[in-house]
Amino acid sequence: MLRSFVRARALWVVLAAFALTSAQAQVTITYWQYDFKSKIEAIDELIKRFEAANPGIKVVHQTFPYDAYQQKVGSSIPAGQGPDVVNLFYGWLPTWVKAGYLVPLPENLVNPKQVDNDFVSMAQSAKIDGKYYGLPTAVRSLALFYNKDLFQQAGIGKPPKTWAEFIEVGKKLTVKQGDRYTQIGYGISPDGQDHHLVREVLLRQMGGRPYSDDGRKVLFGGPEGLKAFTMYTDWVKKHGIGIPNFFPGNNGYRDGFIAGRIGMIIDGSFAIGTIRSGAKFNWGVAELPVEKVGGRKANFGSFWLHSITPLAKGPKLEASVKFLNFITSAEAQRYWLEKVGELPARKGLIKDPKLSLDPVYGPFILSLSYAKATPFVDEAAQRTVIVNAINRVLLQNVDPAQSWKMAMEEEQKILDSFYK
C-alpha cells in the first residue's frame, strides 16, 4: 500500500517535471528569409544566442531562393503553413499589409515612440496609420564606387563632387572603338539602382520632391523633375559616358565594374561585399555628387525588415515579437555589421566615429542622415514606371518631356488604384 503510494508520488513528480520542461520548450516559431549565404549564417548564429537566452522558445529558420520568395510567402500564409516572423523589402509592405499578410507590432511589446527615437528616420516607412509593421536590422544607402586605378591612368586625382565633374570624369574614362565601347565611364543601369537615383536623388537635388506628404499625389512631373530626368538621360544621349547593358545580365553594371571595364557605378551598401571579394584593383567609395558645391544632398535609403504574420497567435505572437526585438537589438545589429557588412539601423550605432570615418562604410553612413526611402505602394510597378520612362528616351528616342509626363500619369494611376 505504502509502496504503491510512493510509486504514485514518484510518477506524479516525473510527470510534473516532464510537463514543466515541455511547457518551457513549447513555443516553436518559424522565421523566413531568402537565400543569401552571409545572412543565413548570421541569423543561424542569432537564433543560437536567442534560444540560449530564452529556453522556452525554439526558432525554426527556413530560406528560399530570391526568385521564389514572394511566391512562397504568397501561397503559404493563406494555407496556414508559413512563417511567424518574415523578412521582406520595405517596398513590399503596403501590398502585403493590404492583402492581410502582416499584423502590426503590438504596442505593449514594441513602443512606437521608442522606435521613432532609436532607429534612423527611414525606418518610419514601416509605419502605416501610426502603427509599426516591422523593424529592420540593417539599412542601406547609395554611394559612388570608383576604380582608383582607372582614375590614376586617366590623370584624375579625386572622385567627382558635382555632376558636371562626374560627366567630365566619365568622358575621360570612356573608350570607344568604332561603334563599340570597350570601357565606359559610368555603369548606367536604369533597372539597377538608377531608377532610385532619378526619383530620390537627382529630383531632390534639383529642389523637387517625388510625392505629396500623404504619398497620394505624384509631384515629380514639375520642372525640377524634368531637369533631373533630362540630366540623367543626357549622360547617354549627349555625353555618351555610358550605355545600358554594357555587360549583359542581372547586375551587369556591377559585373562590369568588378571586371575593371567601368570607371564608376552608383550602387547600394549591400554591394560592398560582392565588390570587395571580386574587384582585383584599387577602388574607393564617395558620397554621391551634388548639383553644385554646397548644394542640397539627397540619397535613397532602403531596408529589409522583419515583420509578424497572422500565423503568430497567442504565445507564438509573444515569442515572435521577442525574437524580432532580439534580432533588431543593438547587439544583433553590431554583429550583423561585422558578419554581413550591412549598416546598422539604430541611430546610436551609426554615430560611432570608427564607422563614419571608415573609407568604405563612411560615405554610406554619412548619407544615411539625409537618405529618404520612397513610400512605395507597389514597388515593382513603380520601378517599372521610371525604368520605362528612361528606356523610352534611350531606346525609342522619345522626347524626355513627353516620356516624363507619361511616367507621372502612369504612376498617379498606380497610386490612385492603391488608395481607391
Partner: protein, 301 residues
Amino acid sequence: MKRSRLSLATREALWAYVFLLLPLAFFLFIRIWPAFQALWLSLYDWNADPSKRVFVGLEHYAQMAQDPLVARSLRNTLLYTLIGVPAQLVLGLGIALLLNAVTRERLRDLFRAIYFAPYVTPAVAVAWVFSWMLSANFGVVNELLRAAGLPAQDFLRNPSLALPTVAGVVVWQNLGFQVVLFLAGLQNIPRDYYEAARIDGADGRQLFRHITLPLLNPVMVFSAVIGTIGFLQLFTQVVNLSFTDQGGPLHSTLTVALYIYQVAFGRFDLGYAAAITVLLFVIILSITLIQLRLLSRRVEY
C-alpha cells in the same frame, strides 16, 4: 469451389480502372480542382484570411478589359506562338529528315544527343550564355554581323527585336525535343511504302509529300498542340533573359503567364491574377480544340 461470375475481360477492365483511379485522383485534386478554385477566386478581392475576401463579382474581368498590359501581353503571347510554333516544326522536321538520312546508327544517336542537349539545359544557363552571345559590345553574333558589313544590334534591348530574339532562343531550346519526336515518327513509317512507291516511279519530292508528310501527321498534330501550349504559357526564358526588367524593355517581351505572376506575387493581387488565369485557360483550351479539329486527319494505307 466458386468461380467468379465476371468474365476475364470484365475483370481485366476492372483492374485497369483500379489502376487508373490513382492518376485520376491526382488529376482531379491537384489539377482540375485548383483550376475551378481559380475561377472562384477570380470573383473575390484577395486576402490571406479567407473570411476577409470580398466578393466583387465580375469586376476583375471588367478591369482586365481596361488593362493595357493585359492587351499587350496577349498580343506578345500570340506573336511568340505565331513565330515559335511554325519555326520549331519546320526546323525540327528538317533536322529530323537530315538525321534520318544518316545511315550509321551510332552517328545518328550522337547527333540526336547533341540536338537534345539544349532541351535539358537549365533556362538560367541558356539565358546567361545567350545574353553574352547577343551582347552589342562583346557578343559573337554582332562580331559576325560586323564581319558581314552589317550594323551591330542590341538584340535583347531593342524593343522591336527583343520578342523575336527571345522566341528564337526558345525555339533553339525546344528544337531537340521536336527532332526526337519527328525522328521517332520517321522511323515508324514502314520502308515498304517507300520501296513500293519507288518501283512505281515516284521521285523524292513525291515520296515526301504523299508518304512522309501524311504518315507523320499524328506527330505533327502532337507537336503543334504541345508547342502551342508551351508558347502560350511562356515564362521562364522571358524572365531570365531580362531579369531586372522582367518582360522588358518597355513590356516588349511580356507574356500573359509572366504578367499573371507579377500581379499575383509582386502585387499580392491574387484575385485579379486568377481572373487573367481563367482568360489564359479559355484561350489555350479553345486554340487546342480548334487545332485538334483542323489538323487531325486519319491516314490509312
